[in-house]
Amino acid sequence: MWSADKLLSAVGLQKLADKRRKLVSGYPELHGDMVLRAPGSFDARLRGGISSAYDLQLSSQAEVTGPVTGNDVVVAGQLQGDLTATGWVRLKEKSRVEAKIKGQAFELEPGAVFRGAVAIGSDSAEQLNVKLKRSA
């Protein structure tokens, strides 16, 4: 089955496909809170929060200092702050995370460095103060 990325690449819109995959990349350092309106990966330095209603991946080059919210959140880089997900939270092999984590499911891979309070499960969902609205 063709994904949207493959389809865009096939018709020659490589730049658009790249843009879709990597929402923010190549910037040395960003300051301020960000709202992402599409699923994708983030691989820049950020001093501030990220808010998204979609799946979000912090790639291995990402360094985020601030609260992060999303649906399924995968962290492969560095994160310092609160992490709230309405679905899965996955901390990949070489990630370094110091955060309070709330979510519905959780995976900590071997090799990930993590320290923080964790609240996974339906009770923690009630504690979620973030109301995410999907934009059409």
Binding site: L91, F106, L108, R115, A117, V118, A119
Partner: protein, 240 residues
């Protein structure tokens, strides 16, 4: 006067493989000697083979056990219930124990322990190969293979071993440190400190609440619950 007569089986002709002398002997005999040259003639080879096979079976059914007092390793029969150490003369317990009420003596066995719902391990030590718990334990529970929680269990001094399995519809309350290489949680676990050197898995409907949780790998399935302060264990930390 003969009180009874025993009918002996008829003899059969046997030929010496060395000199060719023919003589009559009982066919049920294992071996005989040639009446002329004295060569040993084997009549049956089966009993010997069976004896060798039995020896092999006996060897296979033995296991290595280390004395719990001096550490000397011994090779003993698998079905033995008790053994005396050849080095320090201490008795090594190899029996299984079924605890259905309060048991005040220490248990250190190479067998298994089953603790029923009303059973209490109240001795100074509780150590076994596999332990199935549905009751309570006052000492630190040490298992060499697997600890299975299958009831409402309280461990006053924690537990350690390679594998902890908390079955569905069961609960475990632990005061001391729970230290295992692998942990599978399908019921409810509440503790103070949990350390998992390998993988900690929490299945749907299960929960784990602890003040401190450290593990190398954690997997909480959807509808599973995990609450506590978590710290990852890296490979370097496990070695040290």
């Amino acid at each position: 006067m003969r009180l009874f007569t025993k009918k002996l089986p008829p003899k059969e002709l046997v030929t010496c493989p060395s000199c060719g002398h023919e003589q009559k002997d009982y066919p049920s005999a294992n071996a005989t000697f040639c009446h002329r040259c004295g060569t040993r003639i084997l009549l049956q080879e089966k009993p010997r083979r069976q004896a060798v096979r039995k020896q092999v079976e006996l060897k296979a059914r033995r296991r290595m056990v280390a004395c719990l007092h001096c550490g000397r390793e011994m090779r003993i029969h698998e079905e033995a219930q008790k053994w005396q150490c050849t080095s320090c003369s201490a008795y090594v317990d190899l029996a299984n124990h079924d605890i259905q009420r309060e048991h005040t003596a220490s248990i250190q066995t190479y067998g298994d322990i089953v603790v029923g719902a009303k059973g209490v391990l109240a001795g100074a030590k509780a150590e076994a190969e596999n332990i199935r718990m549905a009751g309570r334990a006052m000492p630190r529970v040490v298992c060499r293979k697997c600890l299975v929680i299958e009831g409402t269990v309280k461990l006053a001094a924690g537990a350690e071993g390679p594998l902890l399995q908390v079955l569905e519809n069961t609960s475990l309350g632990a005061e001391g440190l729970l230290e295992f290489e692998m942990m599978e949680v399908k019921g409810q676990v509440q503790g103070k400190q949990v350390k998992v050197l390998g993988s900690l898995e929490i299945f749907p409907g299960a929960s784990l609440q602890a003040d401190q949780i450290s593990a190398r790998r954690i997997l909480v399935h959807p509808l599973g619950k995990l609450l506590g302060y978590v710290q990852s264990l890296t490979a370097a930390e496990i070695v040290t």
